[in-house]
Amino acid sequence: MSEVPEIATSAPRKLHPKVLLIAPVKMLPSLIVPLVGVLLVGGFSVRSYAFAAFGVLATVVFAVLRWATFNYEIVGDRLEIRRSLVSRSVRTIPLERIRGVDVSTPPMHRLLGLSVVKIDTGAGGKGTEEGELDGVTVQEAERLKSVLLRRARAAHTPLPTALGTAPPGDPTASPGTPSPGAESGAVTSGAGPSAASAGVGDVPGGEEPEERVIFKVPRTWLAYGPLSGAYLLTPFALAGGAIGLSFQWGNELGLGGDLAVSAGQWLWERPYLLLVAAVLLVVAMPFVGVVMYAVFNWDFTLKERGGYLVAERGLVTRRSVSLEARRVRGYEIVDSLAERWKGVARTWAIVTGLGDSETRGQLLPVVPRPVAHEVTDNAVGPFTAPLRPHPPVARNRRLFRAIVPWLVLALAAALAAWVTAQPLWWIPAIAALILAGLGVPLGLDRYRSLGHGYDGRRLSVRSGSVRRAQAVIERRAVVGWRLRQTWFQRRAGVLTLIVGVGAGKGGYEAIDVSEDQSVAFPTEVTPDWLTPFRT
């Protein structure tokens, strides 16, 4: 893409024309239904073909116009994205505000050698401040990524880019000082060999930061995927989606509701078919789960490049997310019951000013716990203190919450069975009773999970059972404390302590700490803040 290396960044650029091939194909699904409708209603006449042809043509013309009126440019210290199809609009993104550049290659883009570049500015709102360049060549994407991120980094430090020095105060950048002329490894998301050279040529005196693979997840570990439970319901979701779609299309095709009703009746009279379908779906759960998980997390690789943590993953759509290492303030390690049994866990980074941190902040997919800890110790730092347990009354509260609602339901159903003399009511009654029984180990485990600790540099809180999450946060990321006490908690003499953190979710809770702990813990972490208010 960069024929003119010197001024490559100071001329308006267009998206690659090949993207025009994608746009009409992407619009096809939304076209098919009306097209089929036109053809059916109008019969197979010349006129309906004309209508259909007109629709396709309009789509193509629209795509071309949109492409022709769209350009982007790096002007000085900002990125400008201009659209002038309907009205002229310029989105200006100051480079210093760029927190991350997210390059992904959906399947069709990959066929054509294109990428989608998303620019994250950390503005809380969704979409308003973000920039998206849908359809630049892979090389251009890599160039943009390195230029945007380097500029963004340079803007944070007083050093001018031209010096090509790595910014100081970047403790996590391991071999942070790039050796002159060092090229980035061409391992980046399908980038051709020209990617690195394009990046080097574009910024005079700039050097490609060195790249280091922190961890690559072996493919055998993809089998851990369904343990999280997240992908287990995909067979049901797929079946539901298919049914919904067939209804929608059925309507469009004029097959109407009568057919659906009669189909439903036909099925209702053959309940074994429904049973077989349900069993099939259940049996398919782990397999489809593995497949879906593998599609999203194929070859998950965590790298470090010039002060950025880069996470790449995906089989069909290859995604690469860059997180500025300087902004990482901690991590959250999550496991489900099944994952705990297997000794594996998932890991997210807690990053300041990262929008959509649930999907973007992921440091590691499901990996064995020791590996997760090794990586977080490396990227964030170790947490060494033991977690302190919460008072015994917290156990009673966990048990009460896990058991009593089900017990009440069981009682209500039993009462209904007794009043109406309908034996069918005993089914929900017994089901609720079983769930209440399961509440005992669940409540105990929830209590066992509760804990908080501080090792002098980082604090940690943990809670949950079916989904247990432990957050480890650097002390400097704490921006405030909040204590909350409901009426029931007041009777029990416990509180919920919320650590206000200017990163990640914003608040991390220590549930049901004792009154003494609720003040002692914040005082321990930030002594100056609470001491004046203690009795």
Binding site: W481, G502, G507, E515
Partner: protein, 170 residues
Amino acid sequence: MATGPLRDPENRVSPKAVKLWLLEALVGFVLLVSGAVLLARWIPSWSWLPEWLSGNSWLLVAGVLVLATPPLVAEPFVRYAVHRWELSADVVFARSGFLTREWVFVPVSRIQTVDKAQGWFERMLGLATLEIRTASHSGSSTIKGLDYLVAAELAERLARRAEELRDDAT
């Protein structure tokens, strides 16, 4: 009122805040009761309810009145007793709540913006709400029912002090 290891914040909110909470509670009360009245007039047409229920739908209104009146009366006074604030040693300490209590500690050095806001009723009563924001929602504080002049002065003081103390902690 103080829970164990924490003392009360020094300052109460304005006494006029009692009226504010009363007005706000009244609005909710009126909405709730009128909703109950509407429902009570509609219920007799429900054929699937047993006779003794659909015939005595006024019970619903009576129940709502009985249940909603005590909190209506109690809330303003409880809140006035609970809501307190203090600015000491460059930390804002605020307590609030009715059934659920909250204590918030916000160090001035982490404050990003300080806003004062006035709703309808607040403008009528000469009150203001101070919104102290940090990079985290959980680390942010809202002090309601301050006298307008007090709020303005506090906002000014916090903003000036925050600028002096600003450190790069987001």
